[in-house]
């Protein structure tokens, strides 16, 4: 009965992963390869990172960002969490007939500003226009190229992760989801929550350049922190233990989660990175992160353990324990 694509396949959780595994990898790739944020390409003796991403957000302007800013940040972050320094970006637009030129200008300006901030050069692009109703205002695809100043290629594969390593996150989770939901005007609530949409390359480079032992990184986007943590245990076959009360969540986000029945662990972010760091370096990394505006609320949220391999266990705020699974289906508000 599931022979059609449903919105669930785009949610970033289990259905998305199954789609990648059963359709794309089957035709394109090596089933043993690790699915990381960027591909590592070898050209002669040089290694470069390459990633691509498409952006279809509704609404195209939201508190804290817009589809253009998102398109730059998303791709820059995928490169940065692979340990690469972002260098070049391509941007392609699919535009719906009837899109106001002033909206396009605003988005393009936003792309330009973000690219300058992230120190990434826009080198190629493409534009297509489709009939009214055949896409929703504007879709953007970006491809990014980054270089490695050191051999950080192990960061994407997680091969150095070991028991005792600490889990770090650079700030409050869930802001992006709630900001976008609020901007949709469907829920009859108004919030002052801004999306966390931001380029993290400078923040990440500051940690790597200090020589801190970062063993794994991934940006926390669709599917939320819970999904990234489950991807990690899938790769390393160790267990993770989370201290849920240490996970930073804004009061207002927490409040809305209570009302809507969401779990912040599954909400999307656009400016958050999960780092797995050697235990002796964890405090040092927090100090470095704290110096950057994008990391002032950084926290150690848990550690890698040898128990329950392949499983993420959360120690709840009241001292109970629960299994934290990957996102299954879109999170939907409770109904009773």
């Amino acid at each position: 009965m599931n022979e059609l694509i449903t919105l669930n396949h785009g949610g970033g959780g289990k259905a998305s992963q199954d789609l990648i595994k059963n359709i794309f990898i089957k035709s394109f790739g090596d089933p043993r390869s690790i699915l990381s944020d960027s591909a590592i390409l070898k050209i002669d003796s040089n290694k470069i990172a390459c990633t691509t991403d498409s952006f279809v957000i509704d609404p195209i302007f939201f508190p804290g960002g817009d589809i253009g800013k998102l398109a730059v940040c998303g791709t820059v972050n995928d490169l940065a969490v692979s340990g690469a320094v972002p260098k070049y970006l391509t941007v392609s637009f699919i535009l719906e007939e009837g899109l106001p030129i002033k909206d396009l200008k605003r988005i393009v300006e936003s792309i330009s500003v973000q690219a300058k901030l992230a120190n990434i050069k826009i080198v190629a692009g493409d534009t297509k226009v489709v009939n009214n109703g055949k896409c929703d205002k504007i879709f953007i695809n970006t491809t990014g190229i980054g270089i490695f100043e050191n051999d950080y290629t192990y960061i994407g594969s997680g091969e150095k992760v070991s028991v005792g390593d600490k889990l770090l996150v650079n700030g409050t989770i869930g802001d992006h989801s709630i900001a976008v939901l609020g901007a949709r005007n469907e829920l009859d609530f108004k919030t002052d929550i801004q999306s966390d949409c931001a380029c993290l390359n400078e923040l990440i480079q500051s940690v790597l350049k200090a020589g801190k032992r970062v063993k794994f990184m991934r940006d926390v986007t669709r599917g939320g922190l819970a999904t990234v943590l489950n991807e990690l245990v899938g790769i390393v076959n160790l267990g993770l233990e989370l201290e849920e009360k240490e996970i930073p969540v804004k009061e207002s986000v927490r409040g809305l989660c209570e009302v809507l029945g969401f779990d912040p662990l599954y909400l999307a972010n656009e400016g958050k990175v999960l780092m797995v760091v050697h235990p002796d370096d964890a405090e040092g990394v927090i100090e470095i992160l704290n110096k950057n505006l994008l990391g002032i609320e950084s926290r150690i949220i848990g550690e890698v353990v040898s128990d329950h391999p392949g499983m993420v266990i959360g120690k709840t705020e009241i001292g109970g324990k629960r299994i934290i699974n990957m996102l299954q289906g879109e999170q939907l508000p409770r109904i009773c």
């Binding site: 009965m1 449903t6 959780g13 009859d188 009241i318 508000p333 109904i335 009773c336």
Partner: protein, 361 residues
């Protein structure tokens, strides 16, 4: 966060947990009959804090889970009629009917919209006068008043293109049905939100007639721990009664205004509960005065009777006879991304809660 953190105090939870540890040699089964409780119990890891002798079982508290397959089939038939817009709470979208789900119909092109309130559905009707807007009304005494308000508003404002397909149900008949079944229940963790509407007195027959403990419970970990202790004490003292732990929201009388509008709009009927069967006077349909808003009467959506997957034990799970772990399909063919039974579909369903949060001890 104010009014939340006070009820999530780890120290107090630990004190109650220690006090409960002396009951480890007992064998007490407590049933929650509210999906919100099932979720909270697993989200906070409550079972890992209880003495071995205290068992929590999940009853038929998730409205999505107990809605019959024929209800989904009727909704799907509705969605295929020209110029019909289906409006629904999100959880129903993925519930499997006998052949398809609303999610699948939506991907095939049916106009199915997720709404967060009945009034939003009514606004869609007002904005699309040339279409027929059907709202899928599910839920217990908590959501039924909201459907009633929408129907009343449609009636008063003469919005004639709005219809309700009702699967609304009420709690007491199913609780009584469980007590007459072979399920062993020593006490009910009575629903908090339902009771805020109905008042706690709807449970009075349970200790009086069946000598079973009842505590109306809130949704925070301290609420649950405190209620579990109150229930265990009632069982140990052999003094079953209805107590209100959730006194910050629930009274004996309940919300009389909400009760009045429900009585104005709805009347009871025999209704089918997935996995349990037909229970007399357990469902709500629109009264004759509002028959022009009843989707079942207006549209031609007759469907065959129930046709459930025979390996699925949702029925036994909903009746508390088995847990999701007893199911052959659980976490194999049946998972939240490919739900076979209804308990896996809603985030409030027992299987989905087990899948998502587990009980890691």
């Amino acid at each position: 966060m104010k009014f939340i953190d006070e009820y999530r105090d780890a120290e107090i939870v630990e004190i109650i947990s220690k006090r409960l540890s002396r009951f480890r040699d007992l064998d007490i089964s407590l049933m929650e009959v509210c999906g919100g409780h099932t979720m909270a119990i697993h989200r906070f890891g409550i079972p890992s804090l209880l003495a071995k002798g205290i068992k929590l079982i999940s009853g038929p508290g998730c409205p999505v889970c107990v809605s019959s397959i024929s209800f989904i089939d009727k909704a799907i038939l509705c969605s295929g009629i020209d110029n019909v817009i289906i409006t629904t709470y999100g959880d129903l979208i993925r519930v499997p009917g006998s052949k398809s789900s609303l999610e699948n119909e939506k991907s095939k092109g049916a106009d199915i919209r997720i709404v967060y309130s009945t009034l939003e559905a009514l606004r869609i009707a007002q904005a699309n006068r040339d279409k027929k807007v059907v709202f899928l009304g599910i839920g217990f005494e908590t959501t039924a008043p909201a459907s009633a308000v929408a129907i009343q508003k449609a009636f008063e404002e003469n919005i004639s293109n709005f219809y309700l397909l009702s699967a609304h149900k009420i709690m007491p008949p199913v609780m009584e049905a469980l007590l007459n079944d072979k399920v062993r229940i020593d006490g009910f963790i009575c629903p908090g939100h339902v009771s805020a509407i109905t008042g706690s007195r709807i449970y009075n027959f349970i200790p009086e007639k069946y000598r079973i403990a009842c505590v109306v419970t809130g949704f925070e970990p301290m609420d649950l721990m405190q209620s579990i202790e109150m229930l265990v004490n009632q069982v140990v003292d052999r003094s079953p009664k209805v107590q209100i732990q959730y006194s910050r929201a629930v009274t004996m009388e309940g919300n009389t205004k909400a009760q009045a509008i429900m009585n104005e709009i709805f009347e009871t009927r025999n209704d089918y509960w997935r996995g349990i069967g037909e229970i007399p006077n357990s469902g709500l349909r629109l009264k004759n005065k509002y028959k022009n808003y009843d989707a079942e009467l207006i549209f031609d959506i007759k469907v065959d009777v129930e046709n459930e997957n025979s390996a699925c034990i949702c029925g036994d799970i909903l009746r508390g006879l088995k847990t999701p772990k007893d199911c052959k399909l659980f976490n194999k063919v049946c998972s939240p991304s490919n739900p076979i039974g209804a308990c896996m579909v809603s985030s409030e369903g027992a299987c989905a809660a087990y899948y998502k949060y587990g009980s890691y001890e």
